[in-house]
């Protein structure tokens, strides 16, 4: 398959249990060469062969962009998810050979900013780790506000607070600590850019608060990888390939297209990048749009769908693919 970013053959050289929910994986090239360069906030798509099911999940790179010996990711186990994170936790061991994609960055720092204000929730910390490593090398001005459930589940809290005691503030949910967002946004110097990565509710809260306080849209950056939501099985006709395919309950439309041997474009597989945008030729039924690439009017138009995360319920759906 030729879609997506270029592939890298890697070997897992380290698996570390960060806490009871998070494991860290280190990948080095099987040919011993250097990893490609990337910038803070980039992700890689990890390909998994889960006992016959092909899974491709995006994970933020958390290692320093200066370190080209390896890529490092952290994966939070989601027992309710479709199985990608469980596969990583249960089956990926040191020495295993895997395929990952070249880095893609949909959450880069705007280096024109005078200051970078970062807000992380839970495993949403990972892109900030590489961004902070990048800023460390350029004396970048940043401030991180990081909300975690408990001390034991606070991934990388100790490393961050030891290295950046004055720039990192941790909030523990179990101690009823909350980010005082209104005050935090008030008084940030003009030219500050805001970055948020975490649960959906947190991203919406931060974006809305910033907009209400008059922060320009261009200064507010967020990243949320959506896992494709399961739903009722449905049938799709692919007009160009002249195929009729079935999308299973836990399968995404994109995965079903790929399983039928049709090469469809993709990059993030999480509803964020826009790469897999597909034209709808005809439909009778309703769309379940889950992406945050298309705008509301496009969602209502019935002319476009993002097959990585969105679904369909109804009689017929014909796609230009």
């Amino acid at each position: 398959m030729s879609s997506g970013a270029a592939k890298i053959a890697v070997k897992v050289t380290d698996v570390v249990e960060v806490n009871e929910l998070v494991k860290r994986f280190r990948f080095e090239r099987t040919d011993g060469g250097l990893m490609p360069t990337f910038s803070g906030g980039a992700h890689t798509v990890v390909e998994m062969d889960d006992h016959g099911t092909r899974r491709l999940n995006p994970y933020s790179l958390m290692s320093s962009p200066q370190d080209r010996s390896a890529f490092t990711i952290s994966v939070r186990r989601d027992d309710e998810g479709r199985g990608g994170s469980l596969f990583m936790h249960n089956h990926v061991k040191t020495g295993m050979e895997m395929t990952i994609s070249n880095p893609v960055n949909l959450f880069s720092l705007d280096l024109r900013a005078r200051k970078h204000l970062m807000i992380a929730g839970g495993i949403g910390i990972t892109p900030f780790l590489s961004q902070i490593a990048q800023l460390d090398n350029s004396n970048g001005n940043f401030e991180l506000h990081y909300a975690v459930r408990t001390k034991s589940l606070g991934s990388y809290v100790d490393e961050l607070t030891a290295k950046h005691p004055n720039d990192v503030k941790i909030y523990y949910d179990d101690q009823k600590e909350m980010i005082d967002l209104e005050n935090l946004l008030d008084g940030q110097p003009l030219g500050t850019h805001l970055y948020v990565c975490g649960p959906k509710g947190m991203i919406e809260w931060v974006r809305k608060s910033a907009a209400d306080a008059g922060w320009p849209r261009e200064t507010v950056h967020y990243e949320e990888f959506l896992a494709p939501e399961p739903g009722k099985p449905f049938e799709v006709k692919l007009a160009i390939s002249n195929k009729v395919i079935q999308v299973g309950e836990t399968q995404s439309l994109l995965e079903a297209i790929e399983a039928a041997g049709v090469d469809a474009p993709y990059l993030c597989r999480g509803g964020a990048c826009g790469m897999c945008e597909t034209e709808v030729i005809g439909y009778d039924g309703k769309f379940i749009h889950n992406d945050h690439w298309l705008d509301d009017s496009e969602h209502l138009s019935g002319k476009k769908i993002m097959p990585c995360v969105s679904r369909f319920e109804g009689k017929t759906l014909v796609l230009d693919r």
């Binding site: 705007d110 024109r112 900013a113 005078r114 200051k115 946004l185 008030d186 008084g187 940030q188 110097p189 003009l190 030219g191 500050t192 850019h193 907009a211 209400d212 306080a213 008059g214 922060w215 320009p216 849209r217 261009e218 200064t219």
Partner: protein
């Protein structure tokens, strides 16, 4: 006098809109000459607390005292009128460096003023696309000679003579946000002295 309409041109040529009040903690309004009219129109549609949190910086230029009393009479938290844009630069820089996010920026008047004030804001990380602009009054341009790099202010004819090196320059729509100037290119390089008649810039 209403906002200026320009002919569509190349992508590089800046386009200007119409000022509208946006939610913000404070408001910085910078205008020259006829740009005052845009601020006065904006103020009509504004709530009371808009002016209570507004700072107006005005350079009257050839408009003289036509608007100064009206602008001052708006009762903005701060009002400043100065003799030239250059004289106002230290003030603008200080206001921007002291400001917090949540400041809204409104620019009105000539292209030279708007472009240079926009550059001050983008220099400290404020996105240019978040800055509101409205063109009023003179269509004079701030031009950079691509040969000697000197800037000639308030160019109203095409071609014109570079005020630094004296070359005859053709007025292009090619614009630099970094320089806040349009590009002027020698018009008679191949055939020195063969200079087209000057026409007023529209």
């Amino acid at each position: 006098m209403a906002k200026t309409e320009f002919e569509p041109s190349i992508k590089s040529r800046p386009v200007y809109g119409e000022l509208e009040v946006r939610a913000g903690k404070s408001h910085l309004l910078i205008a020259d000459a006829e740009g005052a009219g845009a601020i006065l129109d904006l103020a009509k549609s504004a709530q009371k607390d808009f002016l209570a949190n507004a700072h107006i910086i005005y350079i009257p230029k050839n408009a003289g005292d036509k608007y100064t009393a009206q602008l001052e009479g708006l009762g903005a938290r701060q009002y400043y009128a100065g003799p030239s844009y250059e004289a106002a630069v230290p003030r603008i820089q200080r206001v921007l460096s002291d400001a917090s996010n949540g400041l809204q920026i409104y620019l009105a008047g000539t292209e030279g003023l708007m472009g240079q004030a926009m550059r001050e804001a983008t220099n400290i990380g404020y996105p240019y696309s978040a800055i509101q602009t409205e063109h009023r009054g003179s269509k004079a341009r701030r031009m950079q000679c691509v040969h000697c790099k000197g800037i000639t202010e308030d160019v109203t004819t095409d071609p014109f003579e570079c005020s630094h090196c004296g070359l005859n320059l053709f007025v292009r729509d090619h614009y630099s946000r970094r320089l806040a100037a349009f590009q002027g290119v020698c018009v008679d390089a191949e055939d020195p002295g063969n200079v087209p008649d000057k026409v007023e810039i529209t």
